[in-house]
Amino acid sequence: MLKVNDIIGIDLGTTNSLVAFVENNDPFIVSPDGESNIFPSVVSFFNDRVLCGDEALESRKTNSRCTVFSVKRFMGKGFDDVKNELTFIPFEIDANEKEVVHVKAMGRSYSGPEISSIILRSLKSRAEKSLGRTFTRAVITVPAYFNDSERQATKDAGRLAGLDVLRILNEPTAASLAYGLHEKNRGTIAVYDLGGGTFDISILRVKNGVFEVLSTGGDTHLGGDDFDRSLSELLNEKVKKTYSVDLYDTPEGISKLILLAEETKVSFSNMKINSKIVIIDNLPSINEQYEIKITREEIELIFAPIIQRTLHACEKVLADGNLAKKDINELILVGGSTRMPIVKNAAEKFFEIKSHSDINPDEVVALGAAVQGQILSGDRKDMLLLDVTPLSLGIETMGGTMGWILPRNTTIPANAKEMYTTSEDNQTGVDIHVLQGERELVKDNRSLSRFHLKIDPVAAGIPRIEVTFLIDANGILNVTARDLRSGKATTIEVQPSYGLTDEKVENILLESFEFAEEDIHIRQLLESKNEAHIILVATIRALDNLGKIKITKEEINKIKDAISDLEKECKGNDPNAIREKIDLLNKITMPFADQIMGDVLKSALENKKLSEALRD
């Protein structure tokens, strides 16, 4: 039985974003009448209003200090990660916020997820306006090479925008879904995706509707922006030489040069010209008009090293998948940067085949996201995507080295179990430091988070704590722990290294500047469902792993009834009714909470500040 599709697909890009939907098995880009399919990922802050998309892009020239672009480059990152880029950024990065990059605009600090949420909310309302219905569920794409923090940040952005993010989907995989729809192709596909800020290469095998990713790789800091930056540097050098002025001295100058670099790059892609005169004018710091000549040869020379980096990644991915170039049957080019002839030629030459570009490379990812949305909605059952984790997962071991838990390119959802015990008598806890990356030493890898396992104080070596590291279908890590001696779930305190804590997300939601009446209802609903989910998961897992715990069949049935009552209520739209059922389940399990669920459920129950606060 097929369900009606109610899930939009969103390509949240570095430069541009798109929203797509599937009707009658046909994915299409959604845009309000008369507007472009492409929505610039730009947010401009003013005293009295916030602009987004084309309007914000327009104000990039006049309001450059408070106009934020390429925010995707900051998702899931800390201040130290981006401080080398500050020269190229005309807007202000808040130096006081070390753990999560914040942008300062109009006297307030905004995290990456907050700014992305403004873009997402605009996309959501674009879809609603043009299709005449409301959407609360979405699939959002990310670069395949995004790590856990970057994915989590994207999910947070969705939540802040009032969207239930059903899946964080890899962009190259999304592209292959959009292609797979039309050609019932079998075989091995390479997806070369060079976007505004990121590069991905994925190899997939398609067989009978199953899209299986074999290996994936890339660079989350490599894309169109890098071409623009190197070209703007070249322009500045030429200006310095001819006019003895350094335009990099002012934010307006940098902004202007980057815009001109982008325009120049595009005109060399679209036209068969060999040189171009770039005119620099309208800058407050200069009173004349500068003219700079740029040749195709010069551009190709400075772009070559950037392209070479993508080809290195391609080689690595082939090796990872135990594949040779001749094994690749199809090459799909995705992302605006593949429009550049020099990029297209380099990719085709590398894989020794002609590329597909029947679907607009700017739109293919969003279309694929919509297809995945349709699959998740239950409206399509003949396709299935099996993706992989792009980076190896490990934990810190003695001497600051990585202890591998899951290798990169493991199919997700994936789990691995590790046993922990104590080394000292009466030790009350164990710290686990989780990392992602391929290097031997902890310091060279990406720290994801630190977990503190609470352990009952007993003699050394007695505790047997089983920790499960689960990477879900979004590529996001979930950690649970169980005391094998008592069968109880064990509390884990999570400290994300580069992310917003749950509490912070909730606070942002509460103080959100745009708190429309209907928004409140949707938020209440989403948050109560969120809370119900946490409690349901803890209770169900506990019941599935009863072990030695004594509980009568009757009591179990009572809990099960309360579970299914709550589940039924969650299908509805009444946050208060959901809260009531949560309280009911809570009441029934309370006598057993100590015995069965351990501290997990108790802490889940305590963690309901937001919905309390939202309740009117």
């Binding site: 199953v210 493991t410 199919t411 989910h533 349901l536």
Partner: protein, 207 residues
């Protein structure tokens, strides 16, 4: 011999939780043997994925959602282990005769001297500043690596023979002899040992 299957669905057609003790072979429904029919594994893996993947349970109850997530994670893990020849052998041997201890293997007696020698050379290379001397040390390490690779190859052939003997036993529904089990355990430990040496030499060369 019979292949075991796990029933993922209960009589009401809803997903069951998978007990910890269900092994990878049973989970994927492939014969519990050292040798693996890759075609069969892929077929079973795709069939199970199409039935159990969380993508198809987005509108289901939370119970089913969690169970489908856990089931697919277990299935993916089983496939990852079984697809790899060595991981599969270690898994099966451990399943039948207990955990192999880490670090309990002794270096192969007839290679002991070469191993010590190679490790010394690697240590020397790490603090060597002269280009010429470094080249010479690298040559010596490469030669040692060749020797260990040859050893690994012969051990691999031994492992193949032993796993064949194991499978022959299993197919006749008899238990592999204690002697055979010990031999495979020893071979796997030796292999692990030599792999560690090889990768430590690679690291020394890379640095």
């Amino acid at each position: 011999m019979e292949t075991n299957f796990f029933d993922f669905f209960d009589k009401n057609r809803s997903i069951q939780s998978i007990p910890n003790e269900v092994d990878h072979f049973t989970l994927l429904g492939v014969p519990k043997k050292m040798d693996l029919d890759f075609k069969l594994l892929e077929q079973r893996y795709f069939d199970l994925s199409k039935k159990l993947h969380p993508d198809f349970f987005q509108n289901a109850t939370t119970t089913e959602k969690i169970r489908s997530l856990d089931a697919i994670a277990r299935i993916n893990e089983a496939k990852r282990i079984l697809e790899d020849r060595i991981l599969r052998m270690v898994y099966l041997v451990e399943l039948e005769s207990g955990k192999l201890k880490e670090n309990d293997s002794n270096p192969p007696a007839d290679l002991l001297e070469d191993i010590l020698d190679a490790q010394e050379t690697a240590a020397e290379l790490e603090c060597c500043l002269e280009e010429e001397k470094a080249q010479e040390l690298k040559c010596r390490i490469l030669a040692a690596k060749d020797c260990f690779e040859t050893f690994k190859k012969s051990q691999n052939e031994n492992l193949d023979k032993c796993s064949k003997a194991w499978d022959d036993n299993v197919e006749r529904d008899s238990t592999p002899s204690q002697e055979l089990v010990s031999k495979i355990r020893l071979l796997l430990s030796l292999r692990n040992y030599i792999e560690n040496i090889l990768s430590s030499l690679d690291r020394a060369m890379g640095a």
